[in-house]
């Protein structure tokens, strides 16, 4: 008995949830859906007279947010996965008019923007109809049944109709929502070309990373070949010569040995610099926490540290984060005229977050071949993100996120 009762309760709860979700869809299809559509429609012609650069990105991004919300609902409520079709935001978006124009161009040239817009229009009637259906079925069916049974016991002929409505509301509700999700996917999912383009982008960024590490290996090989290796050869030569002449010409032998010693010192110094570039020893010895502290101690300006790491990220992530932070701090010292800087390092579920800021003059822009662009590449190799805010006049804040897991702290 209690099984039956709890089953009914569960069914009622599920039905209530489905109805609520359907109503949410219906309401959202109208507001903000319809205003967003019309604002976009009206502001687009304004682009011709130039005024449109302000409202167009705003309304189109609003449409985009609404569409993304529906993609999320489709996945969470009906298990229909709709991939994001948008092209990546362009680099070097500045804050002024040029930035706005760049943003307009980025939005308007993306076919997904236009399909989103079309979806917003078509979605209004479809969303209202399909969204309201489960709640309508449940309410109309229940009201009809109850009034039929209690108020007009004579007319039982209409009962099957109301029973049918109730059943549609209760049993077919989830199916209706799923149909709606599938309808949304028709316009909101990426087209085949867009999927191919995003795959191309992935391949490109991967091959950039592969190229960069191959170039790095070549540099290391060349440094070893021209540096330490050459010095060791000359060291061996000096010692060999000294061996030859030590009996006949002790003075020359002494001179050669001194040269050999100098050579060995130079070789060690070369190796030390090379190793520092590959993997700083202090990172191996102290982990990211200690290495960033060591970095801060060695800079000619005070660096305030807030480091909260309960464990250690995987070695490659540690190394990428270290070099990124080191590069940003080097930029601070070189370009910002800052009097002090700060580093915040924390682990949030699933990602390492590093934020570096200063009180300098700002105006930092990632340029091709520049340090910031190099960090972007390093961070992108781990699917990480970097954001730079650096208004002219300062301050500059660089935020980096690297997805990773944390291993338990070393005790």
């Amino acid at each position: 008995m209690s099984d039956g009762a709890s089953g009914v309760r569960r069914l009622a709860r599920l039905t209530l949830r489905t109805c609520a979700r359907g109503l949410a869809i219906a309401v959202l299809s109208v507001v903000p859906g319809i205003p967003l559509f019309f604002v976009s429609l009206v502001s687009l012609p304004l682009l011709a007279v130039g005024v449109g650069v302000v409202p167009v990105p705003m309304s189109l991004l609003g449409v985009r947010r609404r569409a993304s919300q529906q993609r999320r609902f489709a996945l969470e409520w009906s298990g229909v996965s709709i991939a994001t079709p948008y092209r990546p935001r362009p680099d070097e978006v500045s804050n002024g008019l040029i930035g706005r124009l760049q943003r307009c161009k980025w939005l308007l040239t993306d076919p997904a923007t236009w399909r989103d817009l079309l979806w917003t229009l078509v979605n209004a009637p479809v969303g209202i109809a399909l969204g309201a259906l489960p709640a309508f079925g449940v309410v109309a069916g229940a009201v009809g049944l109850l009034s039929g049974v209690w108020l007009h016991p004579g007319h039982l002929g209409e009962l099957p109709l109301f029973l049918g409505l109730l059943l549609v509301g209760v049993l077919a509700g989830p199916l209706v929502l799923k149909t709606y999700a599938q309808f949304s996917a028709l316009l909101l999912a990426p087209t085949r070309e867009e999927m191919a383009a995003s795959l191309d982008r992935l391949n490109e960024s991967r091959s950039q990373v592969v190229d960069a590490s191959a170039a790095e290996l070549r540099r290391i090989e060349r440094d070893l070949h021209d540096g330490a290796q050459a010095r060791l050869v000359s060291l061996g030569m000096s010692i060999g010569l000294a061996e030859q002449v030590v009996r006949d010409n002790p003075d020359l032998a002494l001179k050669l040995l001194a040269e050999a010693r100098a050579s060995s010192g130079q070789a060690l110094s070369d190796l030390r610099h090379l190793i520092r570039g590959i993997h700083p020893p202090v990172l191996a010895e102290r982990g990211l926490d200690g290495a960033v502290r060591a970095l801060a101690v060695s800079l000619p300006l005070p660096v305030e540290l807030r480091i909260e790491l309960e464990g250690r990220p995987p070695a490659p992530v540690e190394s990428a984060a270290y070099f990124a932070i080191a590069e940003v701090l080097a930029n601070v010292v070189k370009h910002s005229a800052a009097r002090s800087a700060w580093v915040q390092l924390a682990y949030e579920p699933g990602r390492l977050v590093a934020i570096v800021g200063d009180d300098g003059t700002g105006g930092a822009i990632p340029r091709a071949g520049g340090g910031l662009r190099g960090i972007e590449r390093r961070v992108a190799a781990f699917d990480g993100l970097i954001a730079v805010t650096s208004p002219v006049g300062g301050p500059t804040v660089v935020t980096m996120e690297l997805p990773c897991a944390l291993s338990l702290a070393r005790t």
Partner: protein, 214 residues
């Protein structure tokens, strides 16, 4: 002179033993890992310890930690720390653990045998022997500070040599000037940096190091 040695690479350990023995020092124990090193340092209480920063079992900074821990148990225990690389942070940690009888050198310096042995003796005598690279890193860190910018290039040179732990005579030889000229520079430095110029060579070295490390 009794020496405890902490170095895990056999080649270097044997080389150092040979070197120290050749200069009439007695290596009472040579160990190859951090925990053993701490035990050896505390039980033998040697006249000086020569310690590699990176040691088993973790191959991180075991040696440095053992040296710092030993100096906290046996205050003033003379320790000369060797490493393939130098970090201002490590220098700071070593210096904050007690005054005098302290050295921090790149391993490269071992090849200049006479100066290396001199450094061992200075540390054993309660003095200081800092690697020129440590000092240049510490100076670079304060390069923007007003007091240091008031020094002349020559005075900065003298300051760096003093911070390495050299005596007035040593600085004079190095810069090819008279000892009198050196002490004049040193007076100027102490005036400009607002340091109290008291006492012997060693006290002055420590004052300078404390200043750079602040």
């Amino acid at each position: 002179m009794r020496v405890v040695l902490g170095e895990d690479l056999t080649l270097l350990r044997d080389g150092l033993i040979r070197l120290l023995t050749a200069y009439d020092m007695e290596v009472v124990e040579a160990v190859d890992n951090g925990p053993e090193l701490l035990r050896a340092l505390v039980t033998h209480r040697p006249d000086v310890a020569v310690v590699d920063v990176r040691l088993p079992p973790t191959f991180t900074d075991e040696g440095l930690n053992a040296a710092i821990e030993a100096r906290s148990q046996v205050p003033g225990l003379p320790v000369l720390v060797l490493s393939q690389h130098v970090e201002p942070l490590y220098a700071r940690e070593l210096l904050s653990g007690g005054i005098g009888g302290l050295g921090y050198l790149l391993k490269d310096r071992v090849s200049d045998v006479r100066r290396f042995i001199e450094a061992v003796r200075i540390v054993a005598g309660g003095g200081t022997a800092m690697d020129p690279e440590v000092i240049s890193l510490l100076m670079a860190r304060r390069a923007r500070d007003e007091p240091l910018r008031r020094l002349t290039p020559r005075e900065r040179e003298v300051l760096a040599l003093m911070a390495e732990g050299r005596t007035n005579a040593g600085i004079a030889t190095r810069l090819v000037v008279t000892e009198k000229a050196v002490s004049k520079h040193i007076n100027n430095i102490f005036n400009k940096l607002d340091l109290y110029p008291g006492g012997d060579d060693n006290r002055r070295v420590l004052a300078v190091l404390a200043y750079l490390n602040a």
